[in-house]
Symmetry: C2
Subunit: 565 residues, 2 copies
C-alpha cells in the first residue's frame, strides 16, 4: 500500500471544512489537516445576524452539527479523522518544498506542514474604509464569530441606543434589521444614491420605503468621512456634507475583499478582482493547489466573465468540488454562478438572480424588461405582495435576470428563475412553465409566469411599457402626457398617486373615449393597481387610434414615490 | 374594414375565459361569445376546498376579480366586451355550417350561434363509480361551485358527524382536510394499497401517518361496493370486504374524465385517454377549432407521450395559447407539461414533478433514485422537515422526477426541480446550482442540492443505497443482515427503530470495528437521523474491507413504519 496522501486545507469556516470532509469521504486513509486562524470551526457565518437580532439565543447553534455536536477539533477527529488546528495561521506556502509554514497564534510557535495537495480557503475580509477614527472602540463589522458575540452583547446589555450601519448592501441591511430588533435606533448610511446595488433603482426604493416603516433611517448619497470619538470610544460619525450623527456603535458593511495575500506571496495567479484565479476544477495556477470560497474568483454563467461571489452557498459548493479533485484530479467541475442572492429585511424578502437591467445595459446587452406586481397566492388564501422585474435578451429571449421583492414568497420565485437561467431558458419557456399549483402555494398562473407573459407581450410589441421611474420623471418635468388610472372608484378612493391622473374605470372606458385627448399622438400613460387592467386599457386605446399609449408597469403597487394618499 | 371575426368559446370556468380574454386583447373588434353551462363564470375551482374548510368565508372571493368585481356577464361585457351566456349548454357543433347549437337551460330555448373560430373548453367531470346507491342524497363530489356550496353548508350547519371520502388522491385529501377542519370525523377509502399514486409508496406512507395524527382515518386496499341508505339518504358505505361504515356524507373523488363528447359527436379526433386531441397550437383535427383545459390531452415533456393533465394552471396556460392562435394562427405554442402538482394536507405539503420511481420503471427506463431527509432551513431558524426523492436517468443523469413532502417548504423545491426538468438539466447541473441562500430561506446547501449530491454519489457508485421499504422487507423476512445506527446515544434514546439495530456512534466507529460482523460479505445496513452520517459510516466500513454495506436512505426521519419509540 502506498503512503497516504497528505492533504492540507487552509481555512476552517465554510469551503475549507467542506473540502476536507469531501476528501475524507473519497479517501479514508489520506492524512487531512485543517488550519484555522480563528478559535472556532465551521461557523454558520450567515446566521450571525439572526443570533445578534435575537431570532435564537443559543450560540452553540452557530457551531454545532444538526445532531447538536459542537464542531470542534475533537469532533473533526472523531467523526472525520481530520486534524484541525485552530488559532493557527498559515503564514507562508513553499511550493517548491510543498510545505506550509504555520504559526500557532496564542504561543507564537512556528512549524511547517508538508502537503501533497493543498486547498486554500482563506475567505474574505471586510473592507475598512480609510477614514479617521475607524479604530475607535465601537466601530466594528459583522464578519467573525467574535464580532457576532460583541454585537449580541450589545443587545443583551442594552448598552447602545444609537447605531449606524455604513453600507447599504445585503449585509448592511441584515445588520440593520438585527440592531433594530435589539431596540437600537439605527441609520444606514450609503454613499451612492441607492441601496442594494443588485436591484434596479425603483425596486430598491420600495425596499427603502419598507425599511423606513420599521423605524430605521436611511441616508443616501453621503459617505462617512470620519468616525468621531472621545477617550477612544465612538461618539458619532461625520458625513461628507458636514452632518454629524451621534452614535455609540458603527457597523461597517461596505463589502469584502478576497484574502488572497498568502496565495499571491506564493506566486499563484491572482485574478483581476483580487481573488485567486482557478479553473473549473477549482485548481489554481499550481496544479497541486486548489482554492475555494470567498478567496477565489469564479465565472458568471451569464456573461462568462470572472467575478467575486462571496456567498456561503457558493463556498460550500466550491469546497466540495475542490475536495473531490484533490483526491481524484479533474473529477468534479464547478461551472460558475448565476449570481443569485437573497436577504430578509424586516417583513420583506429581497431576492435576485442574474443581471439587473442596469448591469445588463452596462455590459452593452440589448435587453427588454418587465416589471410586475401581484400577490404570491390568491387573496382568499391571504396572498402577499410581490414586485418583480424580469430581464431578457431582446433577440433570443434568453432570461438574463430577475429581481423579486416584497412581503410575499420571493424566495421560491427567485429559485425558480435561477434554475431557468441555469437551463438557459427563454421567456417563451417560462410563459408555459408547469409549476406546482394549488391555492396555498401559488396563483393559477404563478407570479413568475405572469412576469414572463408581460415580457413576452413587450418583446412581441403588444405592449409599450414605462417604468414607474420614467413616469415620475415625466411628471416632475411637467411633460405633456395624459395620465389615466383605470381602477374602480373604490380603489381610487382608497389610494391614489396624485400625479394629475384622470380616473376612468376599465369597464367604462369604451364608452368614455371622448374624455381622452383627441390628439391621437399625445402620450397616454395608463395604469391600474398592478397594470393588468392598465394593459387591457392600452390595447383598447391603441385599437381605437391612439398611437402613443404606454402602460406604467407594476401599477400603483410598484410606485415607490410619495402618493397623494 | 373586413367584418369582425366571430369567436365562440364553449366553457366558462378556466381555459374558456382565458382564451376569450386573450383573443380580445389581440383583436379589439372580434365578436367573442362565451357559453357557460353553469350559472357562474371564472370560478376559482381549486379554492373550493379552502372555502369548504373555512380558510375564508366570503363566497364571492371564488368568483371575484382581485379588484373585488364579480366576474358575471356584466363584468365580461364591460371590461372585455365579451358576451357571456350562462346557464347555456352547447349541444351540437355543425362543422360544415360552422355553427353551434345552444340551449338555454332554464327555459329550454334552443338557438344557433355562428363562428369563424371555435374554442372548446368543456373541462372534465368527476368519475362516478358504477356502484349501487350512488344517487342517494349525501353522496356528492367537489367539482362545481354548487358542490362547494353544499359542502360548505354542511360545515356551517354542523349537520354531519361522519363522512367518507372515496379516493385517496390529491382532491380526496384536500376534501378530507376540509371536512376534518369542519369538525367532521372523516375516513378516506382508497381501493389500492397506497394513497397519492404520484408518490412512491414509502413517501405516501409518511403522508398517511401524518393524516392519521390529525384524526382522519384511512382505509387502504378496499373499494366501496355500495352506498347504503334509508329514505333516499345516505347512511353508510359497504366495502368489498363486507365492512359497513356508517356515514352521512360521502364525497367521491376518484378522478375526472375529459368532457369530450361534444367534440366527439362533431367528429373531432379523440385521443387514447379520452381527451380531445390537439397539436402544440391547441388546434384540434379541425383547423378552425381549438381546445384547451381538462377536456383535451397534452404531451409529457419527459416521455413525449400523450396524457391528461387536469390542473387549473395548465388550463389557464392552454387557454391563453388557444386564445392567441384563434386570432393569429400558429403564433403561440403549448409545448407540454412536466407533470407537476402540489397539495396541502394538514401541516404537510405534498408536491411532485415529473416521474416517480414506479412510473419511470413502468415505462422501462433505466433510472437511479435518491431519497433524503433534512430541514428546509437551519435548525436555528426553525427549520422544518422535508423528505424527498429525486429520480434521474442512469446513463445521461437527466433529472426525471422529484417528490417532496413534509411540514417544510416543499413548494419552492418542487418549483425549482420542475424548472430543472424543463431545462433538461442533469444531476450534475443541480449539484452546483446557484440558488438563493440566506438562513431564513435555505440551508447553505439547499435540500434540492443535497438530493442531487446524494444521487450523484449513487450514480458514481460511491454509495450503495437501500430504501426504507427494502430495509423493512429484509427485517420482516428475517434476512441475515447487520443493522447499524450511527447516531448519538441521546438521539437513540429519544427515538429508535427497534429493528434489531446496533448503536455505534459515528465518532466511535473507527475504534469499534471489532463489534461488527467479521464476515466481510455479510450485508451491513447503516443509517443515522437523515443518513448523512450513515453515508460516512458506510464509506469507513467499505474502506476497511466490508464489501456489502448499504445506506438506508433518508434515515430515521424517512422511516414510515412502526418504531420502537
Amino acid at each position: 500500500m502506498s503512503s497516504p496522501l497528505r492533504i492540507l486545507v487552509i481555512g476552517g469556516t465554510a469551503a475549507g471544512p467542506k473540502a476536507a470532509a469531501k476528501a475524507r469521504r473519497l479517501d479514508e486513509f489520506a492524512e487531512i489537516t485543517l488550519i484555522q486562524r480563528e478559535p472556532d470551526l465551521s461557523m454558520a457565518s450567515c446566521g450571525f445576524p439572526y443570533y445578534v437580532g435575537g431570532t435564537f439565543d443559543d450560540r452553540n447553534l452557530l457551531i454545532g452539527s444538526p445532531a447538536g455536536i459542537t464542531r470542534d477539533p475533537a469532533f473533526f477527529h472523531q467523526a472525520k479523522r481530520i486534524k484541525a488546528l485552530v488559532e493557527t495561521e498559515a503564514v507562508e506556502i513553499d511550493r517548491a518544498a510543498r510545505t506550509v509554514t504555520c504559526q500557532h497564534l496564542p504561543t507564537g510557535e512556528r512549524f511547517s506542514l508538508p502537503y501533497d495537495r493543498l486547498v486554500i480557503a482563506t475567505g474574505a475580509r471586510p473592507l475598512r474604509p480609510p477614514v479617521p477614527g475607524i479604530d475607535l472602540a465601537g466601530v466594528t463589522s459583522l464578519h467573525s464569530l467574535a464580532d457576532a458575540d460583541a454585537l449580541r452583547a450589545v443587545r443583551d446589555q442594552q448598552s447602545v441606543r444609537m447605531a449606524v450601519v455604513v453600507g447599504g448592501g445585503l449585509i448592511g441591511f441584515e445588520v440593520c434589521e438585527a440592531l433594530r430588533l435589539a431596540g437600537i435606533h439605527t441609520t444606514v448610511i450609503e454613499k451612492t444614491r441607492q441601496i442594494l446595488p443588485f436591484l434596479d433603482p425603483h425596486l430598491a426604493k420600495l425596499v427603502e420605503n419598507h425599511v423606513r416603516t420599521h423605524g430605521a433611517d436611511i441616508l443616501l448619497g453621503h459617505g462617512v468621512t470620519e468616525f468621531l470619538g472621545e477617550n477612544g470610544r465612538l461618539t458619532g460619525v461625520k458625513l461628507d456634507n458636514g452632518t454629524e450623527l451621534p452614535c455609540e456603535l458603527a457597523v461597517v458593511a461596505v463589502g469584502v475583499k478576497p484574502n488572497s495575500a498568502l496565495a499571491q506571496s506564493a506566486g499563484l495567479t491572482i485574478g483581476e478582482f483580487g481573488g485567486i484565479a482557478v479553473n473549473e476544477f477549482m485548481q489554481t495556477s499550481d496544479p497541486d493547489i486548489y482554492a475555494a470560497g470567498d478567496c477565489c474568483e469564479c465565472t458568471s454563467l451569464i456573461t462568462g466573465q470572472q467575478m467575486n461571489a462571496p456567498y456561503g452557498d457558493i463556498a460550500n459548493l466550491q469546497g466540495r468540488v475542490a475536495g473531490q479533485n484533490v483526491i481524484n484530479a479533474d473529477s468534479a467541475r464547478f461551472p460558475g454562478v448565476t449570481q443569485t442572492g437573497i436577504c430578509r429585511i424586516f417583513d420583506y424578502t429581497v431576492g435576485f438572480t442574474g443581471l439587473s437591467e442596469q448591469r445588463a445595459r452596462d455590459l452593452g446587452m440589448e435587453i427588454e424588461t418587465a416589471t410586475i406586481a401581484g400577490t404570491d397566492i390568491p387573496g382568499f388564501m391571504g396572498g402577499k405582495l410581490l414586485v418583480s422585474k424580469l430581464v431578457a435578451e431582446r433577440q433570443s429571449g434568453r432570461v438574463l435576470g430577475f429581481q423579486c421583492i416584497g412581503p410575499g414568497d420571493a424566495s421560491k420565485r427567485v429559485a425558480t428563475v435561477a434554475m431557468a437561467i441555469r437551463g438557459q431558458l427563454t421567456v417563451a419557456d417560462l410563459v408555459n412553465a408547469d409549476l406546482p399549483y394549488a391555492p396555498p402555494y401559488s396563483l393559477a398562473l404563478d407570479h413568475v409566469i405572469v412576469a414572463a407573459q408581460v415580457l413576452e407581450n413587450k418583446l412581441a410589441g403588444r405592449m409599450q411599457g414605462l417604468s414607474v421611474a420614467a413616469v415620475k420623471t415625466r411628471v416632475d418635468q411637467g411633460a405633456d402626457c395624459f395620465i389615466l388610472d383605470v381602477r374602480t372608484p373604490r380603489e381610487f378612493e382608497a389610494m391614489r398617486l396624485g400625479i394629475g391622473e384622470t380616473l376612468i374605470p376599465l369597464g367604462a372606458l369604451r364608452d368614455r373615449l371622448h374624455e381622452l385627448p383627441q390628439d391621437k399622438d399625445r402620450e397616454i400613460i395608463v395604469y391600474c393597481q398592478i397594470s393588468l387592467r392598465g394593459y387591457e386599457a392600452a390595447i383598447i386605446l391603441s385599437a381605437r387610434g391612439w398611437r402613443n399609449v404606454r402602460v406604467m408597469e407594476g401599477g400603483v403597487l410598484a410606485w415607490p414615490y410619495p402618493r397623494e394618499k
